[in-house]
Each structure stands twice: as structure tokens, then as C-alpha cells.
Amino acid sequence: MGRTLTFNIFRYNPADPASSPHMDRFTLDETERMTLFIALNRIREELDPSLMFDFCCRAGICGACAMVINGRPGLACHTKTKDLPDEITLMPLPVFKLVGDLSVDTGTWFRGMYQKVESWVHTDKLFDPKAQEERMDNALAEQIYELDRCIECGCCVAACGTAIMREDFLGAVALNRLARFILDPRDQRTEKEYFEVVGTDEGIFGCMGLLACEDVCPKEIPLQEQLGKLRRKMAFAAVKNILPKFLKKDF
């Protein structure tokens, strides 16, 4: 304790013609068990009421507060100042459209993603309110939930070499989402239909395998494993498509 912390924070308000992108410095005395949630709110309330940033649940559940903290994407709410040096640099997430200062528009990006991968259960069945639920093996339900744990914070996209180079890349979050639906027997899409969504350079074949996505994932979702499985599945699907019919059954 007793440290004085210096925050270098990216500033730019696109709605203010007088504003230009720059860094601002703020200093705060560090308090016990301080997190970036506490520090940023103190800066706003005590030093600069115009500072824009996003928090929502402040408990690591909702994914609202992702930002680049000393060069690394992460959730600000569960970043403790005691784990950081005296000087802390905060930047908004790249890839997503800037709202202002540390705030970015993740909603539009993710909604676009759901539409691209059609992130919902595809079924021709109708819900019958009188019928008992369809049964599911508990172990499978747990596997699906394991991939459903993604909180769409955007860290994996911000840390992705491909996503930064090409705007149309789906990113680990979308590929993981599709892996979730492939596991789910309620989704009746065929392998061919999945292939049409992700069997491209914008999808699984655009991944360079740098795996920063998994390194920065605050929920520690096994993205490396999921991307590997998906690549193998889609590669087989691709090969199957060019083979003559009599060979296809071998896969």
C-alpha cells in the first residue's frame, strides 16, 4: 500500500469536434483491494467527469469492461491494481468501433456475428406446451454449457492477428459458438450447412493458429482445442466434397 498510481488513458470523443485522440494522465492513491473498476470510477467522479468507459456487472460475468490493460486485452473489473506496476496504460479494444475514450461498440459487432453464423437452434419441430421435454444426457448438457460460457467480452477478437488484418474474419468467439451448436442435437443443421458458414478464409481456414485468443480468454474456454476440432471436421468435409461418391462413406 501507499503507492501512487499513474494512469495513462486514451482519450477521444468523436462527438466533440474539438477533441483529438491523445493520452491523459491521472494519479490516484492506491487503496486496499483496489480494482480498475474502483480506480476508473474514482477518476470519473473526482478528476474528470467526462471520462467514458463501460462497466455493467463488475463481477466478471457480463463482459462489458474489456479493454487493453498495459498492452493486453482483459476485463477491467477483475484486474487488481496490486498486480500492476505503478504506471498503468489503458486503451480501448481494437477492432470494435470506438464510442469514446475506453468505450467501444461491441453490440453491433456481435449481433452481426449471430446473423452470420445463424447462432440459434435450427429445427423444423414445433414446441408442444403439453409435452414432456426431450431428454438429454447430462454429460452432453455440461459439454454444451462449457462452450456456452463465453461472455462475448471481445478479448479474443482484439488479440487476434487475423481479425486485426481482415475485417470479415469471424474470430474465435464465432467459431466457438458454432462448435457449441454442432454439439447440440437440437440443432438439425447438416455438416454441409455448417461448412458453408465456417469452411472459408473468413471462418476456420483464416485462423493462423497464433492462439492469443485462448491466452486472453477471461473465462478460460478451451478455444485452441475447439478451433483444432473444427478445422479437422471442416477439412474432412471439404475433402469429402471433392471425392467421388463411392469413397465418401469412409469418412
Binding site: A15, A59, I61, A64, V99, V121, E133, E142, D148
Partner: protein, 610 residues
């Protein structure tokens, strides 16, 4: 002025808002959801426990039925609930859970055979029937006769919200996120939509709608220490209250949870105490057995919260830069137990406190958790006071929770009420035409533009909105917290009236351009203080103790005089809400009686007047 027009406008895109939206979209109506944050970040996502529904698939849920669920809910509410709504809720909940399964929620399922479960920290075995294999499983929650809480690991709210949000996307529901409704457009009889400030650009827009739904969650953030997300600041209640005609039902009914961590007020589960954790004071002395010799730390939520507060009032709390707190000690449970059975608690302690609960104490204090009150509606979800206005979820006072809601009932309410109210909104849209008055729209827009101009130019004064908010926090935490009494509430009400005067004089220091957060705060501070006054004034007038509302000077539940629901409206320019009362329920399926826990005396309905 940019104008959007839609059949249904949902203010809030959490579980309740999206469920209603889906029902309307399914029936061919256009829907726009407004949300302060991307829909999936709504506070619904933070609910970990589960949803109560009497499916009765699990061994410990055997013999469950909607009737048993109904009795638990009404007892839990301390007979404050509207019993018609509670009945609709319990009957519909099983269908809603199955519908969620159909849409893709990965509910945990029954695994057949001998299974080991925990109760009070001790393992026991139960036999799950083979014929129930793969059906939706359930876990235990407080105040219930059966295990009936459907769950998805420790992320039920998250899993259901993600499923509903993709269903909404599939149905073509538009979500306009980072958008805040700052006023309803109405003519005193009909609601016609809302004036909305875009939190990406700061622009004001008008949304015209034939039906409008308030599903903006609770108002926990009028308290400094709340487990709620920072967006749960009562925005939807404020715009309802500002109409002057829409009442807030039971604003004083506020639930507190004993163990929010300090600072940041994140909840750590009741399971810590269930498994044998203890509460210690500044001298590391275990004080709960002195107050509650029998149950100690395992008394009900309300009781433990009250005792902790009482102990801190004696000066035995631990001082910190974030206010006084107590310690939760789970060290004696050992590393193995903590890292397996209480993994989530360990993660919260490590991530947010830097505390290792295997070797260190966890700083905790009672923390605001849930608003039972809200926009008062009839059993169809239609708000009192304005035609075309509806409400559902925590934002509403539908009212199945009365003065205390059970764990697992609130999350279930979002999708069950969403389904019911959604159906009623569809009926309304099919059967009603709306005339949009351009004068009402223009007036509403001009009023908001003028408000913003005044804030930016400090026309009414230069009070700092954050300072005013802190004054409100200080006052309501002291006056209308866990323990309430006439003297402190009177002081709180008069302080809040003075603070309301200051809230009307706030001005910006920062220019207010674009998505300026100071303007966001300044626009709602007056409304937040009004809500705080509804809570404090409602609590002052209610001279009894019922559920979470605890009056030290009136310890009895008084069914003779107070089997009622408070209805708080705010007349234009007034300094206090107008309070009216209606019977708690029109239909008595279960007459008032003893809850069977919590103790306390009851003054019966037919007791002679004092």
C-alpha cells in the same frame, strides 16, 4: 428529429424484455428493444442459481406440484403477494422451462442411480429414478419444501439469456443497445413510446410504439452497497413515476443479502455458511451464536442481515476505506472442500479481492440485493395509469413476491411473466389502434432538449451530480436499510427532500457532448432521489414488519391494517410521493397464516382495532 416507429417498444433487453419481444415478433408484430448495454450484458446474465418450476423430476423434488410451489411462494411473500399472479406463475413455470429447453438452454439433467448431494455441509445420497434419466434436474434453494430449482451449472441466467437473445435475433427483434429511455411519450391516458438518448452519440430520438414495456430490472443502485449491476438504477421506474399517473407498487419492499464482498459488493453464495462458514467481528470473535443460539449463521437471509447490522452498529465492525464490514471465515473447511465445492467463491475472492479464502478472511457485509416493488401492473402485466404501457420482470410489481421473494423465483418470473405478458401484449396489439399525437411527441422532445440545455449551461445551479448521489446513498443506507424505525425514517425522508432540492440544481462540469457520462448521471439523479423517497416514505408509513420490511418500533406483521400494497405516484412538482393502498390480493387461495420460519408475532385480520 429521428423517429422510429414500432408495434412494441421494450425498454430493457434482459430476460423479461426479450421474452415479451419474442412473443410479439412470433405473432408478426415489429419489436424494438432498447438496452443500456448489449442485450447479453443485461443483469439477468448475472443470476447464477436457477429458476423454480415444479417439474418434480429429481429424487429430492418428488411429489412436487404447482400447489406446493404456490404455498412456498405465498409464505415467502409473507402474504404480500397477489395470489392470482402467484397461481398463474406456478402453473406456467414448468411449461416455460420446457420451452427454454426447446430453444436450446443446456439445463442440467437427471443422472439415474445413487447420487451424492450436500445439505448443511453434510453429504447424503439419494436415488434418481432410471425412468427420469435425461429430464430437467433441480437443486435446492431456501424457503422451499422441495428441490425445484432448474439450473445450468453456476450460470443459469447467462445460459437462458444467451438462448433467448439468439431466438430474438432469429425472430428479427431489433435491439438498439447503448440507448436509454429518458421519458415516456404520453397524453395522460395513453402511452405512445419514449424519448431516447443514444449512449453512443448523445443524440435524442423519438420512438413511437403502440405498446410499450418497461422491463428494465430493479433499482438496487439507489443504495451504495448493492449486488446489482451498475445499470440497475431504476431508469424504467423513474420514467414511469415522472408520468404522474403510473404508480410504483411496494417501493419499500427491498431484499438484502448477508454476504456481499467489500469493496465491489459482489455476492458470495449462501453455500459458504451452509457448509459451515462463520461470521467474525473486528476482534475475530464469532458473534452470531450470541444473537441466534440455535441457528447462528444459518438463520434466514433477513435475520442474518439484521444481526450483522446490529453488531456493526455496536462499533464491532472492521473499519475500511470502503466502510465497516465483518469477516466471513471458511478457512476451517480446508483447501479440498473450498477448491471443489466452493470453487466459485474462491475465484471471486482471488479475482476481486486478492484474498485466498483457504488462509485468509473474506470481508463481507449485508448488501442490497432485490427490489420486490416496481411498476404496478394488473395480472396481464398492464401498468396502472396509462393504456398501452406494460411491465414485466424485476422492474414490475406484478406481484408474486410481496415483501420477500424466494431465491429462484425471480429468475423464473422473467420468462414466465414474459410469456404471459407477451401473450397479453399480443392481444392488445391485435385489438387496439393508437393515434400518435405529433404535439405530444414534439412537447416531450422539447422538454428533454430543454432539460439537457439547462444541465449543460448550469441554468439551475452547479451541484455535482455525483456528490448529490453520494448524499442520497448516505441517507438511504442509514434510514431505509435493513432495520427501519420511525425516528430514522423521518430523518431520512427530510434529508432526502433536501437532497431532492439539490438534485434539481445539478449542472455539468464537462460540456455534455456525445455519450458524456456526467450528463447520463445528471439526467437521472433527480429521479433516483424520488425513488429513494418512495422507498423511505413508504417504509415510514408502513407501521408493521412484513417480509424484508423490518420496523424495530412495529415488530408484528399486522394483517388487520397492513395486508395491503403501497401505490406511490408522484404529482408534478411535488416534494413527496402520494401514497395510496390497495388490498394485497383480491383472491385468497391461502388465507394469511404463519410462515413456519422467521418467528415474529402476527396481528390477525380480525383482531379488534387497537
Amino acid at each position: 428529429m429521428q423517429i422510429f416507429q414500432t408495434d412494441l417498444l421494450c425498454i430493457g433487453a434482459g430476460l423479461a424484455g426479450e421474452r415479451v419481444a419474442i412473443e410479439a415478433a412470433d405473432n408478426g408484430f415489429s419489436v424494438i428493444c432498447l438496452s443500456l448495454v448489449p442485450a447479453r450484458r443485461s443483469h439477468s446474465s448475472a443470476a447464477q442459481g436457477g429458476m423454480q418450476a415444479a417439474l418434480g423430476n429429481s429424487a429430492m423434488g418428488e411429489g412436487d406440484s404447482p400447489d406446493v410451489h404456490f404455498a412456498d411462494t405465498v409464505k415467502g411473500s409473507d402474504w404480500g403477494a397477489d395470489q392470482e399472479c402467484a397461481r398463474i406463475f406456478v402453473d406456467t413455470a414448468p411449461i416455460a422451462m420446457r420451452q427454454m429447453a426447446f430453444w436450446g438452454v443446456p439445463w442440467n439433467r437427471v443422472v439415474p442411480g445413487e447420487q451424492t448431494y450436500y445439505k448443511g455441509g453434510k453429504p447424503f445420497t439419494a436415488y434418481e429414478k432410471p425412468e427420469n434419466e435425461g429430464l430437467i434436474h433441480s437443486r435446492s434453494f431456501g424457503g422451499t419444501a422441495k428441490w425445484r430449482t432448474c439450473y445450468t451449472s453456476d450460470g443459469t441466467g447467462h445460459a437462458v439469456l444467451y438462448t433467448l437473445d439468439t431466438r430474438a435475433a432469429q425472430m428479427g427483434v431489433e435491439v438498439h443497445d447503448k440507448a436509454e429511455a429518458i421519458a415516456l411519450i404520453h397524453d395522460g391516458d395513453n402511452c405512445m413510446g419514449a424519448i431516447v438518448r443514444c449512449l453512443k452519440t448523445g443524440e435524442l430520438k423519438a420512438y413511437l410504439s403502440r405498446a410499450t414495456l418497461i422491463a428494465s430490472g430493479g433499482y438496487g443502485r439507489i443504495y451504495r452497497e448493492s449486488t446489482n449491476a451498475v445499470i440497475c438504477d431504476g431508469g424504467g421506474h423513474i420514467i414511469a413515476l415522472n408520468t404522474g399517473v403510473v404508480p410504483i407498487g411496494n417501493p419499500e419492499a427491498i431484499q438484502f443479502h448477508p454476504t456481499g464482498i467489500v469493496p465491489t459488493d459482489i455476492l458470495v453464495t449462501e453455500g459458504c455458511r451452509g457448509d459451515g462458514g462463520t461470521l467474525l467481528d473486528v476482534n475475530q470473535y464469532r458473534f452470531m451464536p450470541d444473537y441466534e443460539p440455535e441457528k447462528a449463521e444459518l438463520a434466514s437471509r433477513d435475520v442474518v442481515s439484521r444481526r450483522m447490522t446490529e453488531h456493526m452498529r455496536k462499533g464491532l465492525g472492521v473499519k475500511s476505506p470502503y466502510g465497516d464490514h465483518l469477516w466471513l471465515d471458511i478457512r476451517h473447511l480446508g483447501e479440498k472442500h473450498i477448491s471443489t465445492k466452493l470453487r466459485e467463491v474462491q475465484e471471486i475472492c482471488e479475482s476481486f479481492l486478492g484474498v485466498d479464502p483457504v488462509h485468509q478472511l473474506i470481508p463481507v457485509r449485508p448488501t442490497q440485493h432485490y427490489s420486490m416493488g416496481g411498476v404496478r401492473t394488473d395480472k396481464d402485466g398492464a401498468a396502472y395509469g396509462l393504456k398501452g404501457l406494460f411491465s414485466a420482470g424485476e422492474a414490475s410489481c406484478w406481484d408474486m413476491h410481496g415483501f420477500n421473494r424466494l431465491g429462484g423465483n425471480s429468475l423464473a418470473e422473467t420468462v414466465v411473466a414474459g410469456m404471459i405478458v407477451g401473450g397479453k401484449v399480443v392481444e392488445f396489439l391485435k385489438g387496439t389502434d393508437t393515434t400518435f399525437s405529433t404535439a405530444a411527441i414534439r412537447d416531450a422532445m422539447h422538454r428533454q432538449e430543454a432539460r439537457i440545455a439547462d444541465l449543460v449551461s448550469c441554468a439551475n445551479g452547479g451541484e455535482n451530480p455525483y456528490t448529490v448521489r453520494n448524499a442520497m446513498f448516505d441517507s438511504i443506507m442509514k434510514g431505509a436499510g435493513i432495520f427501519r424505525n420511525g425516528k430514522d425514517l423521518e430523518k431520512c425522508v427530510s434529508e432526502l427532500q433536501e437532497i431532492l432540492g439539490r438534485a434539481r440544481k445539478v449542472g455539468l462540469r464537462s460540456g455534455g457532448k456525445g455519450a458524456n457520462p456526467e450528463l447520463t448521471m445528471a439526467l437521472k439523479i433527480e429521479g433516483m432521489v424520488k425513488l429513494a423517497l418512495c422507498v423511505a416514505y413508504g417504509a415510514l408509513q408502513r407501521t408493521e414488519s412484513r417480509g424484508a420490511h423490518t420496523r424495530e418500533d412495529f415488530p408484528e406483521r399486522n394483517d388487520r391494517d397492513w395486508l395491503t400494497r403501497t401505490l406511490a405516484t408522484w404529482a408534478p412538482g411535488a416534494d413527496l410521493p402520494t401514497l395510496n393502498y390497495e388490498p394485497a390480493t383480491q383472491v385468497f387461495e391461502m388465507p394469511p397464516g404463519d410462515r413456519g420460519y422467521g418467528g415474529g408475532k402476527i396481528i390477525p385480520m380480525d383482531a379488534p382495532k387497537a
